[in-house]
Symmetry: C2
Subunit: 359 residues, 2 copies
């Protein structure tokens, strides 16, 4: 599952952002909003999360805008507010715009109240959840971001995917170390990983998913043909009901509580139709709990102990959540963002067609 470097080209970060933003602007997205979306999409590629990066720009976002499933100039508004809690209505715009606004609001409320917590309803796919959680780090806060998504995941004992891969992102600052950044789907694997195995004609572990009758299978084709992904933990025997429970918690907070759609009410979105997903964000000020300097020191000790834990046989190192993504970030800053050549030629072709300067 490693990238074949030959198929990739490295592009300076700013160039990726600029061309992405300008392409969005040709689809009537306001310049400031287009910059936000470009920033979030590029951040995914910078961090090595190609599946959520600019590869989605044309097939998902621009097509969705062209077909009118996503509104180019949404009126993002605060639908409800009470103390440090609020709900933002995304007005069916790009999810990045509304969730970025919501996280900024949560951070501002946390500056005053210690906590800011909000939901977003009527939204669309927003890229990587980790981006929004990490916004809190800039203010030395702890950040949380959840999102519901297209039904692909089986509740334990069911054969119908009614839950999304509903990600949980959590970011906490450290001292000398990079921040702790967890950004995970609540399914065992994303659907894309099953698709890659099908393409390669390679079997998958039977904990990844089930066929159309809900039976664990090792043939990726059977998972994709009317089957579904298992929640984190796999089938019941290995406690998949815990992953099912977590996916449900994410849906309750992002969907049920915010007024967004939930379960099968969430649609595929993008090029297909309106998705109506919901998001949930929170920012916590550390000194509500502990002196921030003490926290940074304790986080460093925490990370040190994990990194120095004795290795299992055949293993090279113990990772801390977010560590690999920071290496990718350093590499992208030094050498440019890795973009699949086909993705980049599609983007530059589209840009040229719209009269955007690409070099």
């Amino acid at each position: 599952m490693t990238r074949n470097e030959q198929d990739y080209i490295r592009i300076p970060i700013d160039r990726v952002k600029t061309i992405t933003s300008r392409l969005l602007q040709t689809h009537n997205v306001r310049p400031a909003d287009a910059d936000v979306v470009a920033e979030v999409l590029t951040a995914a590629d910078i961090r090595g999360v190609e599946s959520h990066g600019i590869g989605r720009l044309i097939p998902y976002y621009l097509t969705g805008l062209e077909l009118g499933h996503i509104k180019a100039q949404p009126e993002v508004s605060t639908a409800r507010e009470m103390g440090s809690m609020f709900v933002v209505d995304a007005d069916n715009g790009l999810g990045h715009i509304a969730c970025h606004a919501a996280m900024k609001k949560a951070i501002a409320l946390a500056q005053t109240h210690g906590i800011g917590m909000g939901g977003v309803r009527g939204s669309n796919h927003f890229g990587i959840a980790g981006y929004y959680a990490m916004m809190a780090l800039e203010e030395n806060m702890i950040g949380l971001c959840l999102c519901n998504s297209t039904p692909l995941v089986l509740p334990t004992y069911s054969r119908k995917p009614v839950l999304g891969t509903n990600p949980i992102a959590f970011a906490a600052p450290a001292g000398k170390h990079q921040p702790f950044v967890l950004d995970m789907a609540t399914s065992v694997v994303p659907i894309g990983k099953v698709e890659v195995h099908r393409r390669w004609e390679v079997k998958v572990p039977p904990q990844w998913g089930a066929d159309h009758m809900g039976r664990p299978v090792d043939d990726p084709q059977e998972i994709l043909d009317g089957g579904g992904l298992f929640p984190l933990g796999g089938p019941a025997e290995t406690s998949g009901y815990k992953g099912y429970g977590l996916a449900a918690v994410v849906d309750i907070l992002s969907g049920v509580l915010t007024g967004a759609s939930f379960l099968t009410g969430v649609s595929r979105g993008g090029a297909a139709q309106r998705s109506q997903v919901g998001h949930f964000v929170a920012a916590l000020k550390i000194d509500g709990f502990i002196d921030p300097e003490a926290f940074a020191q304790r986080m460093d000790d925490f990370i040190d102990e994990l990194k120095e834990a004795p290795l299992a046989e055949g293993s090279d190192r113990v990772f801390v959540a977010g560590e690999k993504e920071f290496w990718h970030t350093e590499e992208s800053m030094r050498d440019g963002v890795p973009v699949h050549k086909k993705v980049w030629s599609d983007i530059t072709d589209a840009a040229k067609k719209m009269g955007i300067e690409v070099s």
Copy 2:
């Protein structure tokens, strides 16, 4: 793994609580505190979570009090407070006392601010995390409770257990349905389940744990002999690094952020030594986000869709988090709490010795 009914006796709920509270009082626990501890311990047995119930009273709590590892009359105090955030110092008392006080405080703050969120430090084992999350339900709020615990769980790629089974408990009210109550350890299984398999000389799935070299094994003895439990997800191939990440989040919020111990700084506690665990609680007022009646209706729709999802081959029904525990509760209220005969005779013997009326 089902209970052998012959080995159990059913005792009226009030009788279990009374005798538990009185036994704690003979160990110098204040009457009001003893009632809280008895309430939480009995709640575990009522809900069918025998491992966290009154079976622990003598070997863990009373012995810990006798040996002075746990303080009988702690001065639970607010160590820090800012807006709707706070930290409680448990003063090395029984964890139930401090966490009950913390959740009450979180709920009171949520009445005013919409959110209440707090940590507990210098604490001890507190029973089931779900109890505290469920306290929020009485005020029609959403409740959250986390706790770190004795290191038993392996970070992915390590052979040393440095993380606890660190539970996540989340409770949300519904309308016609029972509330959604998730109360799960972030390991695949609790250590007790491995011990039971060893006793029965039955193999375990290789996703449950590893031997002393960090190799997945199916022999429960090898997991217990210097090995460790896998985090939710199992080994790396089935995404155990996600469970590892979640266990770390629980430790960051319960331990690092509150000023409690974390990772291997957490000790076994109880009869062995001081444990110094930390807890994290939150209460959210629903109308900060949505009209509470609309939320109840949406939760009912959410639960209906899950319960009515088509069944996998060979399955009888789809459960919703907390559903089985509510059945146990109904049964316990009707027929009495199921208590293992040996546990009950130990408790009544101890009570008689202390001059407590037991019948």
